[in-house]
């Protein structure tokens, strides 16, 4: 019985980690759906968003090192701090600007190219953004705090304690992340299904030529989609950054999104969510049940093995579009 209660706590934690994975995966799905591009830079986008947010919040001077080296000045901070809400809004604007620049400087010149070429371009973009983030805001590890509650939720602990005689340890940040992610997903699904821009977005995803012929501007849709992906990256960056600090390794969360996508399918928003949850719960429960037998650290590889199995038996993922080739 104790084991069962403990397992349920592990599962709950897994679910909430899964939501965080899903948040990252969502950014991939959005861009993949709209432009058929697998955006390798999505993780770096989250890092860049988090760096920019911290920088704006603390009133850091962007490119301070570069300016100091060039002009012999010693700038580092403006000397003010920006309220969290305003800083988030400003960062969102920066992400829209970034989307615009990406379209203008990269995508526009690659219209009609093979997906692999676009993929390579996003790899380049990832390294560029990583460097840009460093040069702009410095490479030191930063703490991110936008006022989201953190630490153990006492109310859940006391309630579960009175029920089971055992207090669950649930991080309040995880609960908030879950709520915010749920809202974000609901908004995105509604947007894609019921608005004309959403319809145009799906149209572009399906056929560029046909989209042009009904008067859809590809440029507008791409800027829009990359802006949305940038915004999702910002939300993911806030959550992960608050949890484990803003540093280079933040961009590696993208690697965890890969198995999520293989599970859920690259083209499905609900798939990203369900995939994230399955991986989150799966890896936590596996570690809990099997981990002690094999010396632990199964969380590092469990997700990838699960994804591999899926590739063998159901390559389109749980919700992905079935690939049928007529011959």
């Amino acid at each position: 019985m104790d084991q069962l209660i403990f397992a349920s706590e592990v599962m709950l934690n897994g679910l909430m980690t899964g939501v965080m994975y899903a948040l990252v995966a969502l950014g991939f799905v959005l861009i993949f759906k709209a432009s058929g591009v697998f955006n390798y830079a999505q993780g770096v986008l989250a890092l860049f968003a988090a760096l920019t947010l911290v920088g704006i919040q603390n009133g850091q001077v962007p490119f301070a090192h570069l300016i100091n080296a060039a002009f012999g000045t010693s700038l580092h901070h403006f000397g003010w701090t920006v309220p969290s809400i305003l800083a988030v809004a400003l960062t969102a604007l920066v992400m829209v600007g970034l989307a615009f620049l990406i379209e203008k400087l990269v995508l526009q010149h690659l219209v009609g190219q093979e997906p692999i070429i676009l993929f390579m371009a996003t790899i380049g973009l990832a390294y560029f953004l990583e460097g840009l983030g460093d040069v702009m805001w410095g490479a030191d590890i930063k703490t991110l705090d936008v006022g989201l509650p953190q630490g153990i939720s006492e109310s859940i602990e006391s309630v579960t304690d009175s029920w089971f005689g055992y207090g669950y340890f649930i991080d309040r940040l995880d609960i908030w992340a879950t709520v915010i992610a749920a809202l974000l997903v609901a908004a995105l699904v509604a947007f894609a299904q019921y608005t004309k821009q959403g319809r145009a977005m799906r149209a572009v995803a399906d056929d560029h030529q046909a989209a042009l012929s009904v008067g859809i501007s590809l440029r507008f849709i791409w800027v829009m989609v990359w802006s949305i992906a940038g915004f999702v990256a910002l939300v993911a960056g806030i959550m992960w950054g608050t949890k484990s600090g803003v540093q280079f390794s933040l961009s590696l969360i993208a690697l965890k999104a890969l198995p999520v996508l293989m599970l859920g399918g690259f083209t499905s928003i609900p798939g990203a969510i369900v995939g994230g949850l399955i991986i989150g719960v799966g890896e936590k429960l596996f570690e809990f049940a099997i981990g002690p037998m094999v010396g632990g650290a199964t969380e590092n590889w469990f997700a990838y093995v699960l994804a591999l199995l899926f590739l063998v038996f159901r390559p389109q993922g749980l919700f992905g579009e079935r690939i049928i080739e007529r011959v």
Binding site: A190, F191, Y194, T195, K196, Q197, R199, A200, R202, A203, A205, D206, D207, Q209, A210, A211, L212, S213, V214, G215, I216, S217, L218, E321
Partner: protein, 273 residues
């Protein structure tokens, strides 16, 4: 067509055709060293059904792509509604009231028939980004109005029973019809059809011919179509442009074109010295 004037003419079946809706002047289009279209001029008049015919590789589709803004000719002018059209992107041309279909159907396979046709009305929907996003009064009203318009087109083309079906699952003939529906949804002033009957059986061809005539008759839509099937073209169209090797070799009523020696040579072949 003896009474052809700048204001229009009366067709063989007694329809009044108006002035020039679109005029192409001395269009030349090259791809690298290949000349796809060489110095072609013709006009499309308000309310008529205009056909472009010619053997394979004659440059018919290229011509249609020039009209719809997918290709930009190196030389020549495109005039639309009495104004010279500056080189513009296809989506801008669509905004001017030119809708088209494609030779190799270009539909949104993952979307339902209804959603596909709704995309045709994107340019008719003016509600802003934000009000759309929160589904505010105007956006909702607009969606409903456009939905009603789309339902009328669905009735008109007799595809009520497949409106919720994903387009990817439909047979070829129906896909062609859905593509026509999407183009019609834009309420275009000029409708361009690239081989609307290619690959169809006799029955499907008859249906499609009937729809094309009905569209022209009921909505007064000006239609420019490309077609291989000579019989169909001659029955449908008011005037025909004949192309061969990127040049215009004939232009006139079906009867005139049929008796044009150059056209006969191009179609039946002629012994060269």
């Amino acid at each position: 067509m003896n009474s052809m004037t700048s204001d229009g003419y009366i067709t063989a079946d007694g329809r009044q055709i108006g002035g020039k809706l679109m005029e192409l002047k001395n269009i030349t289009l090259r791809f690298g060293g290949v000349v796809a279209i060489k110095d072609i001029s013709f006009d499309i008049r308000q309310g008529e059904i205009r056909a472009i015919i010619g053997p394979n590789g004659a440059g018919k589709s290229s011509m249609l792509n020039v009209v719809s803004g997918f290709y930009h000719p190196q030389e020549g002018e495109v005039w639309f509604k009495g104004q010279r059209r500056q080189p513009m992107k296809p989506h801008q041309v669509a905004g001017l009231g030119v809708a088209r279909t494609f030779q190799n159907i270009a539909l949104f396979d993952g979307m339902s028939v209804l959603d596909n046709i709704m995309t045709g009305r994107l340019k008719k929907m003016k509600a802003g980004f934000l009000s759309q996003a929160i589904w505010w009064g105007k956006a909702e009203r607009e969606e409903n109005e456009n939905r009603a318009a789309v339902e009328r087109i669905i009735d008109f083309l007799e595809i009520q029973n497949i409106r919720k079906t994903p387009v990817g699952r439909l047979p070829y003939g129906l896909k062609k019809r859905v593509e026509l529906a999407r183009a019609l949804a834009a309420e275009p002033q000029l409708l361009l059809l690239d081989e609307p009957m290619a690959g169809m059986n006799v029955e499907e061809k008859e249906d499609m011919s009937r729809f094309i005539l009905d569209v022209n008759d009921e909505f007064g839509t000006t239609i420019c179509l490309i077609e291989h099937d000579m019989g169909v073209v001659m029955d449908l169209s008011d005037r025909v442009v004949v192309m061969d090797y990127g040049r215009k070799i004939g232009d006139g009523t079906p009867d005139e074109v049929r008796n044009n020696q150059q056209v006969i040579d191009a179609y039946l072949g002629v012994a060269h010295e």
